[in-house]
Symmetry: C2
Subunit: 420 residues, 2 copies
Amino acid sequence: MGNSKKNMIIAQSGGPSSAINASIAGAIARGMASDKIDKVLGAVNGMQGFLNRQIINISEQMKSSEDFELLIHTPAQALGSSRYKIPKGDEEVFKEIVSILNDYNIGYFFYNGGNDSMDTVNRLADYIETCGLGIRAIGIPKTIDNDLFNTDHTPGFGSAARYVATSIAEVYLDTCVYPVPGLTIVEIMGRNAGWLTAASALARDSGIKAPHLIYLPEATFDPDEFVEEIRLLFEKQTHVLVAVSEGVRLADGSYLADTGAEADMFGHKTLGGVATTLESMIKEKLDIPKLKTRAIQLSTLQRSAAHCASLTDLQESYQCGYRAVEAAINGESDIMITINRLSDVPYLVRYDETKLEFVANKEKVVPSEWIYKNGTDVTEEMMTYLRPLVTGDTTELTQGGMPRFFRFDWDKIILPKDVK
Amino acid sequence: MGNSKKNMIIAQSGGPSSAINASIAGAIARGMASDKIDKVLGAVNGMQGFLNRQIINISEQMKSSEDFELLIHTPAQALGSSRYKIPKGDEEVFKEIVSILNDYNIGYFFYNGGNDSMDTVNRLADYIETCGLGIRAIGIPKTIDNDLFNTDHTPGFGSAARYVATSIAEVYLDTCVYPVPGLTIVEIMGRNAGWLTAASALARDSGIKAPHLIYLPEATFDPDEFVEEIRLLFEKQTHVLVAVSEGVRLADGSYLADTGAEADMFGHKTLGGVATTLESMIKEKLDIPKLKTRAIQLSTLQRSAAHCASLTDLQESYQCGYRAVEAAINGESDIMITINRLSDVPYLVRYDETKLEFVANKEKVVPSEWIYKNGTDVTEEMMTYLRPLVTGDTTELTQGGMPRFFRFDWDKIILPKDVK
């Protein structure tokens, strides 16, 4: 009998997060421990790199348990990402994918990403099924946006939420030191779903009142009402902090701040500048003597600040990767691993799975019942939902005060003959 | 014999830092332990609040060793700040200060701030000396700018440096995930001194090549040369990260990005927008296909991100406060505590003191020998200088994932009769 074992391959897609590498660490660990899996391979730069055969041998590059520890704590896709989306109806691409899978003797395909990525895996799994190839294709969830269906929350969200809330608490103390009116507007990522902006409310668990106003994309933004809210707040206090989603929209459905940039391959537009737009609005419409304003964009820090990761998030991300490989070994395909919450306090979850078609291309937004005060705040139910996700301090892996990272050598491309 | 013991008072000034409260924690601890000092008082909002008699009883408000631990880790002046500067030649103000000091039976005055604050203490100490009052006035250094003379470095700088370098390392990994040209420009605080921008170079200790260009205010900024540097970099690599000081200046001495805002009481102008200015410059002058650009302002996070503080910095800040009180008890006045470096490796320092007149209103900039590559990088000597300052991980003091802070009750104002 020859070697009947198949190789597995993993790739990553979409936007970075602080926890995304914990997921591949879990998948790699499970793959390397399995007697059904031969080698663990990785595709560099997602589906785009896979199609270019930018394939590396992870089994060779991960050398110690310390490598795993470092990988878990390294932010942003260690295998790179891509925004490439397989064009609708382009069966040639799927043929090419399958041909590459066969060339490299791959029996298990894992894709770590958000709802766009799940669509890719879904279509690939369908194609494989139609051709009766017996290759398993499974999705591992990831997105700081927390907008995937059929899962209580998504890996990456908790760490981003922790960073956002921690930064807001710290920035608010900074604002409060001066005895002059101060308005701080913090802009948070989230094009259509306001989960991450909602998480700014956790800053209040540090014993402060900020944010005083929280604007999510799910509630219509009314500029006049905003100006009035600010006016009323400064009547009774000196310092005001506003948390606002980059995706807030006016009554006509248009984005408050649209940079006019071209949409990307997924049809997503680059937003930004909401905080400065609101800052200008207040400067123009209100005359508050000596008012100091500050617009802060948390920018890519909110998705890459691994130094402020949530341990719960890292552990769950790891489990999602681990269980994806386990499911594939057990013969499953066309699914995504999910996290089901069993209880808030004590916080308990069970890992489960969902068919990919139920998550592909769909966005789970914040339910309107969790938004209140005329669209300027989130409810206690939201806080109860959020709290466990940011819990657990990670031990920093540093050397001389600087973070230590694990990085794959992307240039060590292998050929099919190397892994047959 | 009546109570011959005097009270001490401490106040904070200037811009916030992550380590400034470690200094007052040290001062308070030494004050409370001294048999020469009766009560430890605090003035809220610096000299401005002191003149308004916004005085609180710290001895009453600090209740446990846990309060001290929390205070050490709380960012931004726990006693508030002010930008108030005593007008030149206004002797009336000093008369008023002394009258308040006498009312509250204060024998020791401590001011925790930067070079402007040291000028205030210097002038106060001179006035007290002239009047023969026997009150001690001592300065405790603080500034993320690291621009004070006669001290190897300043409390607050190490933590800000650590945050800047850590964030840049993380943001760079984020940039690198996409296989398209990416230019990230990170703007760092520092009006005239480039120490903090120089600290961005420490990100390389995380095993990355970024920043690829570092622009300090000490070197003249030439826009054409900048564009050319960027062009050359993209000829050989896909991702470029630039660290730039908010204070970079053109050959004629004008700031590259001047918001046109009015200067504050100290004559400082609000700067900002350097990163976006450079971003626009590149978009306009270079045609790099598919180039993605991102301008990031680290904003007030760099001076308030206590969650990323340097333990070395917190410990030294504490010592500066502690030793200021000790010096006062020993009869000294009109001095500032300093840190003298004895050796880089192993890192050893000795605490010392300098006359206030040598630090007041002076700015120590980066020596030109430590800037090289035509003003686009810093030397290995600079790295050797910086490294020990960011070293040492702090234990996060969190509850439910959120930072815990110590906050004084600023409204608990006391009267002279309360402390006589």
